[in-house]
C-alpha cells in the first residue's frame, strides 16, 4: 500500500487517520504501538505499510488532533508518544458516526439484492 501525498479526499488516508485516532483512545502510544494495535485488532486484514503511519501521525499532530512528547518505552528506549487532544476526541466521534452511517447504508444496499 503506497500512500500518495496529502490528499484529503483519499479514502485510505481518512481510514488510516480514523484507525490512529481510535488506537489512541486507549492512552498515549508510540508509533510502533499504534501499528501493532491496528495489526492485532484488525486480525491482519488491514496491512499498513508501517512507514506511512508516521507522516499520518505528524499530519494529525499538525492539525491539533494529537499531541506528542518524548518518553521511555517498556524496554527503556527513547520513543515519541502520541495522545489524543480534545479536538482529536471530537474528530474521532464525528468520523466514527460517519463510518457507522456509511457502512450501515452500504450493508442495507447489499441486503436488498
Amino acid at each position: 500500500m503506497k500512500l500518495k501525498r496529502e490528499n484529503p479526499g483519499d479514502l485510505l488516508q481518512g481510514t488510516l487517520d480514523l484507525l490512529i485516532l481510535k488506537a489512541l483512545t486507549r492512552g498515549a502510544m508510540h508509533g510502533y504501538g499504534v501499528a501493532e494495535w491496528i495489526h492485532q485488532t484488525s486480525e491482519d486484514i488491514l496491512k499498513v505499510e508501517e512507514g506511512a503511519l508516521y507522516p499520518a501521525l505528524h499530519r494529525l499532530e499538525l492539525r491539533g488532533l494529537l499531541s506528542s512528547e518524548w518518553g521511555t518505552s517498556d524496554n527503556n528506549r527513547r520513543a515519541k508518544f502520541y495522545s489524543l487532544t480534545a479536538a482529536g476526541r471530537k474528530q474521532l466521534a464525528q468520523e466514527t458516526e460517519f463510518w457507522r452511517r456509511l457502512s450501515g447504508a452500504v450493508a442495507r444496499i447489499l441486503q436488498t439484492a
Partner: protein, 891 residues
C-alpha cells in the same frame, strides 16, 4: 478550518528554527520502530539478518517517509522554490556568457515596452498637478463640434448654478502672450484663468499671492499677473521683492502679484507649459479672435471639483440640464449643446485621438520586438537544454515529477527575466526621456509638457511585462525538457534526441525572421516618409526661415497692420543674405490647408451653394513660389499690381487645374470663387504635405493684398537666405523692429524645424521602428547563426565522412547554406505577407510613399537576406575546418 490552518502555521513556524532537531526526531522515531519490529521478528524465530530486512521491508521507503513528514512540518513548496531559485542563480552564474546575453536581450525587449508605457503613462494616466487630484473633473461641451470649449457667459452661468460641483474654474491655457519686462521680450505660453483656478488645484504661491475674487470681477479693470518660477528666475533674476513689479503683456501693463510654485506649469497634460497667468476678466489681452465676454465666443476649458459624495455622472446630468436652461444670445442661432464630465486625468479629450493612434502604433512595435526577443532567448534556452538533457533525465529518473522539473526550470527563467526587467527599468530612465524629447518643440516652437518619470504604475507595468516575457520565452524550452526520453538519454550519456530540438529552434528562428522583416519594412517606409517630408516634393524648405508677425496681439487695425507688413517685406528684400522674401496669411505651407472657397466655372454658378465644389485656398504675397522653390507649370506669379481694386486674379495648382478643365490648362480662363469671377493667371505644381490616406489637395492661391472682404492683420513670413537661416535671424529681427518695435515677432524657426515639429509623430514612430528593426534583425541573425552552428556541430561525423569520400569544402558549406537559405526563404516570405497586411497601419504617417511601396519592400527583403545569409555562411564555413580523421575517430 481556519483555526486548524492557524495551528499548523504556528507549529511550522515553531519548527522553522529547529530543522536539525526535526530531522533527528524523524530519524530517531524511525529507528525506534525498526528496532522494535526487528526484535519482534527475532523473537518469532527468524534469523537476525533476515529479521532486520523483514523489518525494513515492512516499514517501506524510509526516505519517502522523511520527505512526507518534512513536507508536513515545513513550508515545502515555498522552500523548494527558494531552493530552485538558489540553484538557478548558481546555474546562471556558471554560464556567465549565456546569462549576460539572455539578460541584455530581454532587457532591450522589455525596455522598449516600458518606454512606450512611460509615454502612455505621461499622456493618459497622469493626473492634473493638484493637491488632491482624485475629485477633479474636466467638463467638455459636446454636440456642437470644436474642442469642447465654453464661452465666458456659459461658464459663469454653470458656475453659479451647479450644486454637484464644489468649485468650477475656467482656463484658456494656450494663450500666446508676448511679454516685455526688464528690457527683455519673450513670447510665452500663458493662461487666462478664473480666480478660483489656483484654489481649485490646492496650490500655494512660491512668493506673493494668487488672484483675489475681487480682481476677477470687472472686465478689463485689474491688470494683475502671476508668473512662473522659471520666468521669475529668467527675467527677474529671482528678485525676492517681485510683488508689485510691472511687465507688459501684449502691450498692456500688468502688475505682478505672485510667483507660482516651482514645478507648476499649468494644467495642460501633453500641451505647452504655462509661464504666466492672468485673470479671466483680462481675457481681451490674451484672446484676440473674438470678444471673450460674448456668448458665442467659446475659448475656455472648464475644470472642477466634485462636491463631497457626488459622482461625475450626477455632475454630468446636472450640467447638461443647466446647459439647456442657459439664456440664449438672442441672435437666433441654435446654441444647444451637451456636457460630458470626466476625471481630470491625461491629455484632454480633444487631443486624445491623435495620441491614441501613435501610442497604438508604438505599443504594436514594442510588442513585436518583445516577441522577437522572447523567440531569441527561447532559442538560446532550447540550445542550452540540449546540454542539460542528461541532468534533466537524471532528475526524472530519481523521481522528480514533470511539475517539479518545470518549476526548477521556471525558477531559472524567472531569474533571467527579473534581471532583464530590472535592467530594463534602468535603461528606460534614459530611453523614455529620449522618446519624450521628440515632443520638446511643436510646430509653433513651443515646448511641450511631457512629464515622463518613473512612478509606481511604470514599475507595476515593468513587472507585468517581465513576467509575461518570462512565461513566453520559457514555453518551448520547458515543454522540451519534459519530453526528454529517459532511457535513450541516459543510455547515450546525455547526447540528444536532437531532431525535435533542432526543429523547434528552426521554427523559432523562422518566426524571428518573419517578424524582423515586418519591422524592417515598417522602418524603411517611415524612414522614406521622413526623408520625403524634409526633402519636400515640388518645393524646397532648406534655407528658408519662417516667422510670424502678430500686430493683432497688440490690437492693431488691419489698415495699420498692412502698411506695417508691406514695409517689412520691402526691408527684408533689401537685406544682404536674403535671396527672396514673401508672406502669407496665417496658415503656412507646413501648417496645411487654411480656409476654403467654393469654386465653379463662370456661367455655371449654381444657385444652390451646396452644389458648388470646395477647394482650400491660401493668401500669399508675390515671390512666394520663388522663395519656396515651387515650380510654375504655366503663367505668371502675383506682382505688386495685384492689389485691392485691380482685376481679381488667382493661381491654381495642377490638381485644381485638372478639376476645372481636365483636357487642357485653364490658363487665362475665369473661375468663380465664392461667386466672384477670378482670372487664372498661373498654374503651379502641387506642393503639399499629405499622407498616404489623403487624396491630392486642390489649391487656389489668392493675392495677399487683394483681399477686400477680410483683410489680414497677422502674417507668416518666409525668407530664403543665402546661408544658414538662423545666422540671418538677428539682422531680420533688427529689420522688423526698425519698422515697428512693438509688434510681436513669434514662431521664428527654419521651416524645416517647423516640419519636424509638425510631424513629430512620424519622426518618432520612424525612430522607434528603426531601433526596433535593427535590434530584431541582429537578434534574428544571432538566432540563425546559432541554429546553423549547432547543426554543423551535430553533423561533424557526417562531414568527416563526406570529406573523406572526396567532397570539396565548397560542397560541404553548400549543405549548410542550403539549410540557412530554406529558413530565410520561409521566414521572409511569411514576413512579406505579414508586412503587406500590416503596413497599412502606418498610412497616417506615410508622406509621399505608399504603404506597399515596392522599392521599400524589395530593399527590406534584400537587407534581411544579406544579413541572414551572412549569419548562415559564417558558421557553415566551420564545417570545412572539420578534420575527417578526428571526426571519425571521435565516435
Amino acid at each position: 478550518m481556519f483555526s486548524e490552518w492557524l495551528h499548523q502555521t504556528w507549529l511550522r513556524l515553531k519548527t522553522l528554527g529547529k530543522r536539525p532537531q526535526l530531522d533527528r526526531d524523524l530519524r530517531e522515531e524511525a529507528a525506534f520502530h525498526l528496532a522494535m519490529r526487528e526484535e519482534k521478528n527475532r523473537l518469532a524465530g527468524i534469523d537476525p539478518e533476515e529479521a532486520r530486512y523483514a523489518a525494513r521491508r515492512q516499514f517501506g521507503n524510509a526516505s519517502a517517509l522523511k520527505e512526507n513528514s518534512r513536507e508536513a512540518w515545513t513550508f515545502a513548496t515555498l522552500e523548494s522554490f527558494g531552493q530552485d531559485l538558489r540553484f538557478g542563480a548558481r546555474t546562471l552564474r556558471k554560464n556567465c556568457g549565456f546569462s549576460a546575453v539572455a539578460i541584455v536581450t530581454l532587457a532591450l525587449g522589455i525596455t522598449a515596452n516600458v518606454t512606450v508605457f512611460s509615454f502612455v503613462d505621461a499622456l493618459f494616466l497622469r493626473s492634473v498637478p493638484a493637491k488632491d487630484p482624485a475629485g477633479l473633473v474636466r467638463i467638455l461641451a459636446t454636440e456642437r463640434g470644436g474642442e469642447g470649449l465654453f464661452s465666458y457667459p456659459e461658464f459663469s452661468y454653470l458656475e453659479h448654478h451647479a450644486k454637484t460641483l464644489e468649485t468650477l474654474a475656467a482656463h484658456y491655457s494656450t494663450a500666446p502672450l508676448y511679454i516685455n519686462a526688464n528690457g527683455e521680450s519673450a513670447e510665452v505660453q500663458g493662461a487666462v484663468v478664473s480666480s478660483n483656478y489656483f484654489p481649485l488645484l490646492g496650490l500655494s504661491p512660491h512668493a506673493g499671492r494668487f488672484f483675489s475674487n475681487e480682481e476677477d470681477s470687472a472686465p478689463d479693470r485689474d491688470a494683475v499677473a502671476v508668473i512662473s518660477y522659471g520666468l521669475w528666475e529668467r527675467i527677474f533674476g529671482a528678485d525676492p521683492a517681485i510683488s508689485g513689479k510691472t511687465l507688459l503683456i501684449n502691450g498692456t501693463s500688468f502688475v505682478i502679484v505672485g510667483v507660482a510654485p516651482k514645478d507648476f506649469a499649468g494644467a495642460n497634460i501633453g500641451g505647452s507649459p504655462n509661464e504666466i497667468w492672468i485673470p479671466s476678466m483680462m481675457s481681451r489681452v490674451g484672446y484676440r479672435w473674438c470678444d471673450g465676454f460674448k456668448r458665442d465666443c467659446t475659448f475656455l476649458e472648464l475644470m472642477g471639483r466634485l462636491s463631497p459624495g457626488r459622482s461625475s455622472q450626477e455632475a454630468q446630468a446636472e450640467l447638461a440640464t443647466l446647459a439647456r436652461q442657459l439664456p440664449t444670445a438672442g441672435n437666433g442661432s441654435d446654441e444647444r449643446f451637451g456636457v460630458s464630465v470626466t476625471p481630470a486625468v491625461g491629455v484632454s479629450e480633444a487631443h486624445r485621438h491623435y495620441f491614441l493612434l501613435l501610442t497604438r502604433l508604438l505599443t504594436t512595435i514594442a510588442g513585436i520586438l518583445l516577441l522577437v526577443v522572447c523567440a531569441n532567448v527561447g532559442g538560446l534556452l532550447v540550445a542550452r537544454g540540449t546540454a542539460r538533457t542528461a541532468e534533466i533525465a537524471m532528475r526524472r529518473a530519481l523521481g522528480a515529477s514533470s511539475l517539479r522539473i518545470s518549476t526548477l526550470l521556471q525558477a531559472e527563467n524567472l531569474l533571467l527575466a527579473s534581471f532583464g526587467g530590472a535592467l530594463a527599468v534602468v535603461f528606460s530612465l534614459w530611453t523614455s526621456k529620449w522618446l519624450a524629447g521628440f515632443y520638446s518643440i511643436d510646430v509653433e516652437g513651443y515646448r511641450h509638457l511631457f512629464d515622463v518619470r518613473l512612478d509606481a504604475r511604470l514599475l507595476v507595468y515593468s513587472l507585468m511585462v517581465t513576467l509575461l516575457s518570462g512565461f513566453l520565452f520559457a514555453l518551448l524550452p520547458v515543454w522540451q525538457a519534459n519530453r526528454v526520453d529517459l532511457i535513450e538519454s541516459l543510455k547515450s550519456g546525455g547526447s540528444l534526441p536532437a531532431s525535435s530540438r533542432a526543429t523547434a529552434r528552426t521554427a523559432l528562428v523562422t518566426v524571428q525572421l518573419a517578424l524582423s522583416l515586418g519591422l524592417v519594412v515598417g522602418a524603411g517606409l517611415l524612414a522614406r516618409s521622413t526623408a520625403n517630408l524634409l526633402a519636400g516634393r515640388n518645393m524646397d524648405l532648406h534655407h528658408v526661415l519662417g516667422f510670424r508677425l502678430r500686430p493683432r496681439l497688440i490690437g492693431y487695425s488691419p489698415e495699420k497692420s498692412q502698411s506695417f507688413l508691406r514695409e517689412v517685406v520691402e526691408r527684408l528684400r533689401a537685406l544682404p543674405g536674403v535671396a527672396s522674401a514673401s508672406l502669407m496669411n496665417t496658415s503656412g505651407v507646413v501648417w496645411g490647408n487654411g480656409g476654403g472657397v467654393r469654386w465653379a466655372l463662370p456661367g455655371k454658378v449654381s444657385t444652390k451653394p451646396a452644389d458648388q465644389k470646395e477647394t482650400p485656398d491660401h493668401e500669399i504675397g508675390p515671390d512666394y513660389f520663388t522663395t519656396l522653390h515651387i515650380p510654375f507649370v504655366a503663367g505668371r506669379d502675383f506682382n505688386e499690381t495685384d492689389i485691392q481694386g485691380s482685376p481679381r486674379v488667382v493661381i491654381i495648382n495642377e490638381t485644381l487645374a485638372a478639376k476645372i478643365a481636365p483636357e487642357q490648362f485653364p490658363l487665362q480662363q475665369y473661375v468663380a470663387l465664392d461667386d466672384r469671377p477670378y482670372q487664372i493667371v498661373g498654374i503651379v505644381k502641387d506642393a503639399q504635405i499629405r499622407n498616404a490616406l489623403e487624396p491630392p489637395i486642390p489649391m487656389a492661391y489668392l493675392p495677399f493684398w487683394q483681399n477686400d472682404t477680410e483683410p489680414q492683420t497677422d502674417a507668416r513670413f518666409c525668407v530664403r537666405t543665402t546661408g544658414d537661416p538662423l545666422t540671418a535671424l538677428p539682422s531680420i529681427r533688427l529689420a522688423v523692429s526698425a519698422v515697428d518695435s512693438h509688434v510681436p515677432i513669434t514662431e521664428t524657426m527654419p521651416l524645416l524645424e517647423q516640419v519636424r515639429g509638425k510631424f513629430t509623430d512620424a519622426r518618432l514612430a520612424g525612430a522607434v521602428l528603426i531601433c526596433a528593426a535593427a535590434l530584431a534583425l541582429v537578434l534574428s541573425a544571432i538566432g540563425l547563426f546559432g541554429v546553423i552552428a549547432y547543426e554543423v556541430g551535430q553533423r561533424k561525423r557526417e562531414i568527416g565522412i563526406r570529406l573523406a569520400l572526396g567532397a570539396t569544402s565548397r560542397q560541404v558549406v553548400a549543405v549548410f547554406l542550403k539549410k540557412g537559405i530554406a529558413v530565410i526563404l520561409t521566414g521572409s516570405t511569411a514576413g512579406l505577407f505579414l508586412s503587406l497586411a500590416a503596413s497599412r497601419l502606418l498610412s497616417a504617417w506615410l508622406f509621399n510613399v505608399g504603404p506597399s511601396d515596392p522599392a521599400t519592400f524589395g530593399a527590406a527583403a534584400l537587407l534581411l537576406a544579406v544579413v541572414a545569409l551572412l549569419a548562415s555562411y559564417l558558421p557553415s564555413r566551420r564545417a570545412t575546418q572539420v578534420d575527417p580523421v578526428q571526426a571519425l575517430r571521435h565516435e
